[in-house]
């Protein structure tokens, strides 16, 4: 399962890394952060996702990668729900252009599915270490 989850994050990160300007606009649409910070995150977050995804697939720096991805997906979910509550009609930007037409419920369902998978992997890896 870690390979699948890792591959999903590698794929999501790569799509955004190819078009950081679009991702910066997607972040800006959430109206949470100033544009300058959004641009910085648009350059940084995709690579963090790719590296953490690779960590899961290669099982190198595994627990660190798992922790970061769990935190990231938690932040994405919180930002998405906050945007919905504030009445913003936005695309999540999670998978770049590919997720442009996803509905709010579709992308929230995928986020929760990934969160559940990550928590499951953390529990398994904790049990192995115990």
């Amino acid at each position: 399962m870690d390979v699948v989850v890792g591959a999903i994050f590698i794929c999501a990160g790569a799509i955004k890394a190819f078009d950081p300007i679009r991702f910066a606009n997607d972040i800006d649409n959430y109206k949470i952060l100033p544009w300058t910070i959004g641009v910085g995150l648009a350059f940084y977050l995709p690579w963090l996702e790719i590296l953490c995804g690779l960590a899961l697939v290669a099982r190198v720096l595994y627990r660190g990668g798992l922790s970061i991805l769990t935190a990231l997906i938690g932040i994405f979910i919180a930002a998405t729900i906050a945007a919905k509550i504030r009445g913003l009609d936005i695309t999540c930007g999670c998978f770049g252009h590919a997720s442009k037409n996803w509905s709010f419920s579709t992308h929230l369902a995928l986020d929760f599915l990934l969160l559940a998978a990550l928590i499951f992997l953390i529990r398994i890896s904790s049990r192995r270490l115990a």
Partner: protein, 142 residues
């Protein structure tokens, strides 16, 4: 044992800066760190006024706001009624004219989106976004 995941996470967080900085350098001319619109695509109210008859104003705000008030001579073109309004705009447009798109304020997205669609879908050149939008226009009018 607990410090291992934290140390690993910190290492990954630091490592991600390397390709991110590289990419930021590569894209340095294509993205503005100050504004969502590249500086070359922005126009101030003062600059726009100098263009006078050589410019066509496009109001990207919703219909009700356009009906209430707008820049004299402006054409309404918003994303809600894009297909309906675009042909009306194109009737007024000519290749030698610059296009100035505005929405309600500096923070709105509509002008940026309409300008982008005019460049990409209608293949127009010389499309600019008004800095500060309608609010700035009103402020300068006083």
């Amino acid at each position: 044992m607990k410090s291992r995941p934290i140390r690993q996470a910190l290492f990954l967080v630091a490592l991600a800066f390397v390709p991110a900085i590289g990419e930021a350098v590569y894209f340095r001319d294509r993205v503005s760190w100050q504004s969502p619109v590249a500086t070359s695509e922005l126009v101030t109210v003062d600059q726009a006024r100098v263009w006078g008859e050589n410019a066509i104003w496009v109001d990207a705000r919703p219909d009700d706001e356009f009906t209430r008030d707008h820049v004299p001579g402006a054409v309404s073109l918003n994303e809600d009624r894009w297909n309906e309004l675009l042909p009306q705009f194109l009737q007024r447009w000519s290749p030698e004219k610059r296009v100035i798109v505005y929405c309600s304020a500096e923070s709105c997205n509509a002008a940026r989106e309409v300008a982008k669609r005019l460049r990409e879908e209608a293949q127009l050149k010389n499309v600019f976004v008004l800095q500060g939008g309608w609010e700035e226009w009103l402020r300068k009018k006083r």
